[in-house]
């Protein structure tokens, strides 16, 4: 199938480009990672120690750049990202594996809830365009969308966490008691509620408005008029004719946002001290932890590409016109 072949070729080229950029960028930066690690440990630095550290990091001057590249490629593709500078000697892989489930859980579930809820509301608003329910939904979406989401996070944390003391101020689960099974699960939900709410509120307005506008433009199509002339039930016209077509552009944006889930919601995770990838990346950046940053960037690029690739598949089922 031509469509599929094109998509696979694109996937490979994009992945390779991401890998190359990820390889080149840290090497363009000034400074020497070996010296940096040793400096952190303090004390005198002997030239032999620096040289030994360089060899350990695989950036010694004797190894040709191409050889470095291939060993980088091999390591990256086997998810061997090296050792973190700031959490020395914890392997980067372990740090990422610790943080990833939290981010995927928090941001993934929030994105899904926001998409489903926003799309459903958008369908209703678009279908009842220019009626009170539409004005209400549209205006509220515009207002919610106007809030910067880190500000929303701060307000929620301050009001519900600090003033009312209803929710915890940080972390993803209770750290001062040992919980198991459902108790642990409950604690995770309890801790994830405010950050989740922030993420849902932050993106809900956009989903609503996108879907509403898609609906309004689809509703002016001739096939809607024909569906009405056919005497189909309103429910069927709304769902099978209008929403089914209006959904297509929204699915594209949803697929893209799925890719960014892994990148985490940087500011939300920072505000709520949530131990996800976003928080880890923040720490990596502030402590100049290059292997960690490199690994996170790679994971983000990979997930965006995989999400896009999956999206192309889903789209093939949803829109017969792409099947060719």
């Amino acid at each position: 199938m031509k469509y599929l072949r094109e998509k696979i070729v694109f996937f490979i080229i994009a992945l390779l480009s991401a890998l190359i950029i990820n390889f080149v960028l840290p090497r363009l930066m000034p400074g020497d990672p070996a010296e940096r690690i040793l400096l952190k440990m303090g004390g005198d630095i002997q030239p032999e120690a620096v040289e030994a550290m360089r060899i350990a990091l695989g950036v010694d001057k004797e190894t040709p750049i191409l050889k470095q590249f291939f060993s980088y490629l091999k390591n990256t593709l086997t998810f061997n990202f090296g050792i973190s500078y700031s959490y020395y000697p914890v392997p980067v892989k372990d740090l990422i594996l610790d943080a990833l489930p939290w981010t995927i859980g928090l941001v993934g579930i929030s994105t899904l809830i926001s998409f489903v809820l926003g799309t459903a509301l958008g369908i209703r608003a678009g279908w009842n365009r220019n009626k009170p329910i539409d004005s209400f939904v549209t205006i509220s979406s515009l207002i919610i969308r106007g809030f910067p989401y880190f500000w929303l996070a701060l307000i929620l944390l301050y009001v519900f966490g600090f003033l009312l003391n209803l929710f915890p101020l940080s972390n993803a689960y209770s750290t001062h008691e040992f919980l198991k099974g459902w108790k642990f699960f409950g604690s995770v939900i309890y801790h994830g509620f405010l950050p989740g709410l922030t993420l849902v509120l932050a993106s809900l307005g956009t989903w609503i408005l996108t879907m509403r506008n898609n609906m309004v433009s689809v509703l002016s199509e001739d096939f809607i008029l024909v569906a009405e002339a056919k005497g189909l039930k309103d429910k069927d016209i709304m769902n099978k004719y209008a929403a089914r077509n209006a959904l297509l552009p929204s699915v594209t944006s949803f697929g893209l946002s799925l890719g960014y889930i892994v990148g985490g919601a940087l500011l939300t995770e920072i505000v709520f001290s949530y131990p996800g990838i976003g928080y880890l990346m923040y720490k990596g950046v502030t402590s100049q932890d290059y292997p960690l940053m490199q690994a996170i960037f790679f994971i983000i690029s990979l997930s965006v590409l995989i999400a896009n690739f999956m999206l192309d598949f889903v789209y093939m089922f949803l829109d017969p016109r792409t099947r060719g």
Partner: protein, 315 residues
């Protein structure tokens, strides 16, 4: 009498301004009739059609009038009763049938949904009906598994017509169904419709700005100008002996195949602005025979049995 439209007025309301796109239109349609409605773009043809079928969308609105279909007023019927009559009793083929099909469903599914909605047929029986109607418009039955984008413009139009005929309704309304097609395809589709009308009896209202096409195919013709019907009669008689100066102007504005080529004339001026009130005859600004009396509105009346005209001084 199948359909009777009485004093129908409809139009659009926006920002306090009211535009009357259809003014006081009355006509009737018999069983197995073929009425062509012709007029320039923007004269209110489509508004008239959608008002008759009660499909006019906001900001469009029906201001006044009655539309009796088999003795019942469509405009006063409750929505559920009307919905159940739709497509079984009267169906529609739209202007750009290219866009009349839902792009994400197969042809058969789009015909299937309307069959299942209004009848007790099983899916298997419905498939047989679909096969039959598609064959009727000259589409192979294998094509019913296609999606709309896999068909040519002409084929989509045929599918739209086939779809309109699944229940053999007594009235089929066609809004410029061939406008987007080239003349060759247009011709073959018109012949197909003619053929189907010979075997399945149904009435048809056919709206187009292509008046020469109507003179060729329709049984009766109505000429619309600035939201009003100005002339109505048997097509042949209207063509040979137009009574309204606008009709006569239209007939003189296209070349005749059978006669020698001579210079043909247009009609000077342009269609009046419908958002402003028109005093008297709407055509008077462009009419060569206008007189004092034309400042009062001419009534649309039957001058000879079956011939209606809205002019104080019919030709």
């Amino acid at each position: 009498m199948l359909l009777e439209v009485r004093n129908l007025s409809a139009g659009y309301k926006s920002q306090g301004k009211e535009i009357e796109a259809v003014k006081n239109v009355s006509f009737s349609l018999d069983e197995n009739d073929f009425l062509g409605i012709a007029g320039e773009s923007g004269c209110g043809k489509s508004t008239l059609l959608f008002s008759i079928l009660r499909l006019l969308k906001r900001p469009g609105e029906i201001f006044d009038g009655e539309v009796f279909f088999k003795g019942e007023d469509i405009l006063k019927m409750d929505e559920e009763t009307l919905r159940k009559k739709r497509w079984k009793e009267f169906s529609l083929v739209t202007q750009s049938a290219m866009n009349a099909l839902n792009p994400v469903y197969k042809i058969k599914d789009q015909i299937m949904d309307v069959i299942l909605e209004h009848s007790d047929y099983t899916k298997i029986e419905a498939l047989e009906i679909i096969e039959r109607v598609l064959q009727m418009v000259g589409i192979q039955k294998e094509r019913m598994d296609s999606y709309p984008h896999q068909l040519s413009g002409g084929m989509k139009q045929r599918v739209a017509i086939a779809m309109a005929l699944v229940f053999s309704p007594s009235l089929v309304v066609m809004d410029e169904p061939t406008t987007a097609l080239d003349v060759v395809v247009q011709r073959s589709i018109m012949e197909q419709i003619d053929e189907i009308r010979n075997t399945n009896k149904f009435s048809m209202i056919f709206v187009t700005h292509d008046i020469s096409l109507l003179f060729e195919i329709s049984k009766r013709i109505a000429i619309m100008y600035a939201g009003e019907l100005v002339e109505l009669g048997q097509t042949k008689q209207v063509y040979l002996n137009p009574l309204h100066p606008y009709t006569s102007g239209l007939i003189n504005s296209f070349p005749k195949l059978t006669k020698e080529t001579k210079e043909y004339k247009g009609i000077p001026g342009k269609i009046p602005d419908l958002s402003k009130p028109i005093i008297g005859c709407s055509f008077k600004e462009r009419c060569q025979n206008r007189k004092e009396l034309c400042n009062t509105r001419p009534e649309f009346k039957e001058v000879i049995p079956g011939r209606w005209v809205a002019c104080h001084f019919p030709l």
